[in-house]
């Protein structure tokens, strides 16, 4: 085993012994063990403030320590760290009593990802010609966009736990959220059930036209198309009209 390999294992092993080749009396090696966990816990708290607020700081710190050991950062951009925290929470028994917690983590991670994601300039959508021109093209999510389908009122829970507001969750219903960046703002857009169904079909369809034709009830096509146009205009969806502009 190389020196830095044993050093790195010792740093990541809580209560582990320090490597033989390091001269440090007085328990000084523990500084590195503590720094590793504390600095990454702080990074996770920055990305997941609502999760931290929902469980409290001591629980969050204990959960983060387990997560950091199981799933350490693989790249040095700390804004990217925590992609799999939601899955970890879903399987973390001590958090079982908060079944919505994993989806809140998904929403918070999607918001940070949206902030740092690539740009994509969308052409303006004005006039019937522009809409007709969209029909043969594939529609995909903007690079900043994430769709989160939750069995819980994930948007309401998130909104209720912002520092500046205290909005009680009044209607405990499943919610689907589309998170994306618009200019300098990250938006949470609620997606209703019909749009959600259509969106799921649209994002895997060959083209907007084929998704509309595949609708089981043609009468709903108008409403679905309207929602898709709104999301295109908001920049949450993009078309593959302009070759070479996709990331």
């Amino acid at each position: 085993m190389t020196p830095l390999k044993s050093f790195s294992i010792a740093v990541r092993t809580p209560d582990g012994v320090q490597p033989m080749f390091v001269s440090a009396a007085g328990g000084r090696f523990t500084i590195y063990q503590r720094n590793h966990v504390a600095s990454l816990t702080a990074a996770l708290a920055k990305t997941f403030p609502v999760v931290q607020r929902l469980v409290g700081e001591p629980f969050f710190a204990a959960m983060a320590a387990r997560f950091i050991f199981q799933s350490p950062p693989r790249v040095p951009m700390l804004a990217d760290y925590g992609a799999d925290l939601a899955d970890f929470i879903a399987a973390f028994e001590p958090a079982e009593s908060l079944p919505f917690l994993a989806d809140v983590a998904r929403l918070e991670y999607a918001r940070v990802r949206a902030w740092h994601a690539a740009d994509h300039a969308s052409p303006p959508l004005d006039g019937a010609d522009a809409v007709a021109a969209l029909l043969p093209h594939r529609i995909v999510l903007h690079p900043s966009a994430t769709l989160i389908q939750s069995d819980h009122p994930v948007l309401a829970i998130w909104a209720a736990n912002q520092p500046e507001t205290a909005v009680p969750v009044e209607d405990w219903q499943p919610e689907t959220a589309l998170v994306h960046r618009s200019g300098d703002v990250v938006l949470n857009t609620p997606i209703d059930a019909d749009t959600n169904t259509f969106l799921a079909a649209l994002l895997t369809a060959e083209s907007l036209e084929s998704a509309l034709l595949a609708l089981p009830d043609p009468d709903t096509a108008g409403a679905a198309l309207l929602h898709v146009l709104q999301l295109l205009q908001a920049g949450a969806l993009i078309t593959t009209c302009h070759e070479g502009t996709l990331p």
Partner: protein, 296 residues
Amino acid sequence: MTAAASSPLRLPPAAELGLPPSAGLGLHREHLDEVLGRAGRLGFIEIHAENFMSEGGPTLALLDQLASQYPISLHGVALSLGGEEPLDPAHLQRLRRIIDRTRPASFSEHLAWASHDGIYFNDLLPIAYDATTLSRVADHVDEAQSALGMRLLLENPSTYVSHAASDWDEIDFLAEIARRTGCGLLLDINNAVVSSVNHGWDPQAYLQRFPLALVGEIHLAGHSETRDDAGQRLLIDSHGEAIAEPVWLHYADVIARAGPLPTLIERDNDIPAFAVVAAEVAQAAAILARHARKAA
């Protein structure tokens, strides 16, 4: 060898390089309004490269705005120059993108390691000062300078433990890497004090021996003081306190000997109001001005 590293090395001549010999500030989101509004007399701004590696969006727009207003000191924390493994070519590319975008006046990194086995530790970990490690770090510095197309400043570390294998003095080790690679040095006076106290060196002697002619930037930061389990005095490089009085005294002494050098006020934790860090910038600027007049 990576594709980026195999491109011909075109280092700009020394005269075109470098930060102004004035006092600058490490950027924090909390001070963005004042920094962009030029509220303080800031000679330059230092940014942590890893905070600006976004694919797009407002972070890159901020980067452009900062680069249009200030000389930029680009400071990396994750290149792991002291690591046992090859440098990460993806990370070199990400750094190169920021360098091409902002044309920084300086790029600096640490005499430390931060990654191993694909895990990023988010800490600057100590290396052994021996011949094997020296060759490896020198190779990594060579590779980084080629890939990034600019000279690098290598920062002296703060450490709490030492490797039993170390048979080189820290300053000789830094100077030898600079000699082999042509890199410059970043003298962190707080790190010098922290490591000196922690390892029983004399900080005054350390700074007397430091090769000031190679120094392209100085860092000043705060530390906290505690005792280790054996009751020995222990300094922690916390960057969360005001700059300690002994660090100021050593700084004034270094500037008296070397003349004005680009000086950064670093505060990374428990970020105070802008006025608090601006006062430290002003204090450094006053010391620089005193010795600029003397030099003139």
